[in-house]
């Protein structure tokens, strides 16, 4: 997260981890088979292998992406490589290479290793984390959409990994990568915030609470999804909703839509199917939790990588008193 304008993006304010890409996606080339074939063969093209969904990373400070030239990936594996065109950076074409998880004994160069995206993303340069997010989401989608949802026949990759077409000509349905919109909301009232602890929290650190969140459903706006989810999960009605910022989240591919949501009067109650607990926290508790996010406690918030963390920080930064300026 930075307050600076990212090169070429001119985004004032918040840049979340996984946003802030500087890649030229060159989307018009995806369907140009002969140009893609040329780029795949070019000396200057670079390839980033993902094993399973973990990118190759070169140790360092910061760690770098393990870009390989054509010669190196041919030797890397004997299996068929799925090359996903992600665009151009520094005048070189870039592809993500999706390697099957089974092929995990592949030796890589000293100082390089396949690393989980959650663990490595906070260490990467902002544009590198964004590129990893795009590659991981594309690789995950291709890996789980080998068949046509319409008729069940095998579907083959087209558009350099940005679509898949049914191989049965009588069907021929084309599918595109899926990105699921999710609302995530900082719910506040009278200088306090409502955070919840998910029931899957057995594997969460003690004290971890986060913003409520949920998928946007068919037939509802962002603001309506915020209201429905808050009502379902915590029994609280929401008045004004204000969009704050958004974050691509590559697990496997959601668009996190961050909002500040003003709670109306009423007692919170937990939906036991979703949450272990839900609680109001004071500004002081949140201030401590944001500073000590990596320490267990009565309240622990998610790490800075997450939009939940950034929404709490944004709300704290807006100062006390009335919850925000009314239009």
């Amino acid at each position: 997260v930075t307050d600076e304008f990212t090169a070429g993006r001119l985004e004032p304010g918040v840049i979340h981890t996984f946003a802030g890409g500087t890649l030229d996606r060159a989307a018009h080339l995806r369907s140009d088979g002969s140009r893609i074939a040329e780029l795949l063969d070019s000396e200057s093209t670079r390839f980033l292998p993902f094993r399973g969904l973990d990118p190759l990373i070169v140790a360092g400070s910061p760690p770098a992406l393990g870009w390989l030239p054509r010669g190196d990936i041919e030797g890397l594996l004997e299996v068929e490589l799925a090359a996903l065109f992600v665009g151009f950076e520094d005048d070189a074409a870039r592809f993500a290479i999706a390697l099957p998880e089974q092929e995990c004994d592949t030796p890589v160069a000293d100082g390089s290793s396949f690393r989980g995206v959650r663990e490595v993303a906070p260490l990467l340069r902002i544009p590198d984390a964004s590129l990893v997010a795009m590659g991981r989401s594309l690789a995950a989608w291709n890996a789980t959409h080998g068949h046509c949802a319409q008729c069940g026949s095998p579907a083959s990759m087209i558009d350099a990994g940005h679509a898949r077409r049914c191989t049965d000509d009588s069907c021929g349905a084309v599918q595109f990568p899926r990105t699921d919109p999710v609302v995530i909301m900082l719910i506040h009232r009278d200088g306090q915030c409502l955070l919840g602890r998910a029931i899957r929290a057995q594997r969460y650190p003690p004290g971890l609470h986060s913003c409520l969140a949920g998928y946007v459903e068919p037939g509802e706006s962002i603001e309506e999804a915020v209201r429905r989810e808050t009502w379902e999960e915590a029994g609280i009605r929401i008045g004004h909703v204000r969009y704050h910022s958004s974050q691509p989240w590559p697990f496997p591919s959601t668009l996190m839509i961050g909002c500040l949501a003003e709670a109306l009067p009423g007692e919170a109650r937990v939906d036991p199917a979703e949450l272990e607990s839900v609680r109001w926290f004071t500004r002081e508790e949140l201030q401590v939790a944001v500073e000590r996010w990596d320490v267990d406690g009565v309240l622990r918030v998610p790490p800075p990588l997450t939009i939940a963390h950034q929404l709490v920080k944004a709300w704290l930064a807006e100062g006390s008193g009335s919850d925000w300026p009314r239009p």
Copy 2:
């Protein structure tokens, strides 16, 4: 679109067609098979048939949704009915019924007919249009996802239409309804707006221009998608991006994310693969076009049903001078 708070929703400002639902979706009941079975059998439950993706509508002013009791839908068709649970309204459980398009000679009651959603939505009450959007999107998703994308086996409906599970137990993958986030942007500079005419515009009325728009891709935020699409389609760089409002769009199921986007200096150029033309329009031209949206002309804007129309209106309403208040 209304400035009033919708009952139970407290949404100030803009309510787009297809938003403004008043349904209690009762999502926790979807996976409760015995409760759903009870509701399907209940005297008080009401069913809204969709033929293909067109809802049954009862003529009137406004037209009403063609809700039928259990007895009537059993007689309606002999084929297997897919009942999609949408929630509760007026204390009655509500299901959408997806009828195959082929079964189109079904007689319906006098004064009732299956009508296209684009045509009928502007005539419906706000909550009815929202319910139709939810039902249409759910029906469309179920109709096109009969198979498991992972392994190709048949996938059967679960959770009363809100998920589908692979019937091959060794796979068992579960898929959920898909909602694709799309950015749509009112691009402005020096008191003018940039609108484009799509190349599919052969079937569009003469003069029709609209806001640029495109799918949010993996690994990008809303603001980045606005910048990339505007650059790809019109060769214009964008500075500040401001979220305005969002609209569910049931053709078949997108979430339209409306933004106001400030253009940086530079000449517009058309992407011939996407647009027939792109042009700056003055405030005066837009004012006329919004008032006479149903009349062909040099400039014609989309109908009030669309977020594109509402974004133009919102920008006009903000007044002239500097494009908007800076933070």
